[in-house]
């Protein structure tokens, strides 16, 4: 089969150098956007008249929470691709994204706790969004645990892909079930259909930080996938020539 166009890069050997070129690009985008977003967030944006300065944690918290959910979807997408086309690289991408998703879920819980203390008066409440993010973190940890528990890499790929897909069907159900169960968290302040209920600079800072989180995720995942490729293709001639 002639490898052409986009699918040429589904081979680890041709993707490895491409990823190597993309990592610094996205890394710098992430760094610049983070500096800009934090500047807007901490210097330009006004103090909230109700929450005071503590609201500024949203510039970390909201992008992290968004990314935690979004990365799981991307993992499910790569998992579906790896099961359908049986491409090794798709599974490697899924594997590379898991730790980043878990990190974002953890950051959103952690930063939320420190925001909740001054605002709600408590680090933790059994609220719908907090609980569903916690369960999302457990789903990520489950993926990592299953991966490390299976010796054979190809089997681990496929088992994790099935688990990620079952989880992705379940994530919205978990979200709504927990929402129904209990909710204290304020409704979303930003939605696509209504005008945002916050100052424009605050929104700008949050969106810039979200883009930074995207760029960071891409850079880190590509960097990690390069290590995974080297590890798994250690027997191939092109990796041996590369390392030598």
């Amino acid at each position: 089969m002639a490898a052409s166009g986009f699918f040429r890069y589904s081979s680890p050997a041709s993707f490895y150098p491409l990823a190597g070129r993309l990592v610094p690009v996205f890394g710098w985008i992430a760094a610049i956007l983070t500096v800009a977003g934090l500047y807007i967030g901490f210097v330009v944006a006004p103090t909230d008249f109700q929450q005071g300065e503590s609201y500024r944690i949203i510039f970390m918290h909201v992008p992290a929470a968004w990314m935690a959910m979004f990365v799981y979807l991307v993992i499910a997408g790569w998992s579906a691709a790896s099961l359908v086309w049986n491409t090794r690289l798709s599974a490697m991408m899924a594997q590379a994204l898991v730790p980043t998703g878990a990190m974002f879920a953890f950051v959103s819980l952690w930063s939320g706790a420190f925001w909740g203390r001054p605002t709600w008066g408590t680090y933790w409440v059994w609220d719908a969004r907090l609980t569903s993010t916690l369960i999302l973190l457990f789903l990520y940890l489950g993926l990592m645990a299953l991966r490390s528990a299976i010796e054979d890499q190809r089997r681990a790929d496929r088992a994790c892909a099935v688990l990620a897909l079952v989880g992705s069907v379940n994530v919205p159900i978990i979200y709504f079930s927990v929402q129904w169960w209990n909710t204290l968290h304020q409704g979303a302040s930003v939605s696509l259909t209504a005008a945002p209920k916050m100052a424009e600079t605050m929104l700008a800072g949050m969106l810039v930080m979200s883009l930074a989180a995207w760029a960071y995720t891409i850079a880190v995942a590509l960097h990690r996938v390069r290590s995974i490729i080297l590890e798994r293709e250690a027997h191939a001639r092109w990796t041996q020539e590369l390392v030598r």
């Binding site: 369960i135 457990f138 645990a145 299953l146 528990a149 010796e151 088992a159 079952v166 079930s177």
Partner: protein, 224 residues
Amino acid sequence: MTAGAAIRWGLRRDLALAMRSRAEIAIVLVFFLLVTSLFPLGLDPDPALLAKIAPGIAWVAALLASLLGLPRLFAADHADGSLEQLALAAAPLPALVTGKVLAHWVATSLPLILLAPLAGIQFGLEPRLIGILIATLLLGTPVLAWLGAIGAALTLGARGGAALLALLVLPLAVPVLVFGAGAVESTRAGLGAQAHLSLLGAGAILSTVFGPFVTALAVRISFE
């Protein structure tokens, strides 16, 4: 072999195996009652409190008890090679797996559901609430059985054993717990349990439709 015959065959075989190791089933039941009995000891024997937390405790105990039996489902067949023979057989694997999971449900969940009223009485739950609790268990345990079957098949031959299985299955089972315990709570509050029961029923149907294929895929993956 048709799918129906394969389901019946799997059901008969695994039920016969379960009947030969009745002690293992009894252990699951004792575990369920033991867990529910620990809560009053750890909390406070106040009847009002116990009646309030009873549905949640019954459901958590059922979740944990359903994990206990899961390694039985595929591990022994995997170890002696008969699972591989089933995967190679002319009969459709999803149907064979359905028979096995059905037998597993009959052997472990059904006795537990029959035992649930006892736990309900221990906690001073009203009779009509016990009825709702049983209805939620009847609708919810098939979902747990399928989630557990997928988890058990994925972890075949993996290190980590029971703890890994718990980490994979329990987060996915959260909606069942929420709707199951919520149904009893909302009946007590006078809101009726119809919405909860409908959702549990939807979950039971969905998991019974897709569960066999996902589980069969997971079983096949374990032989790669």
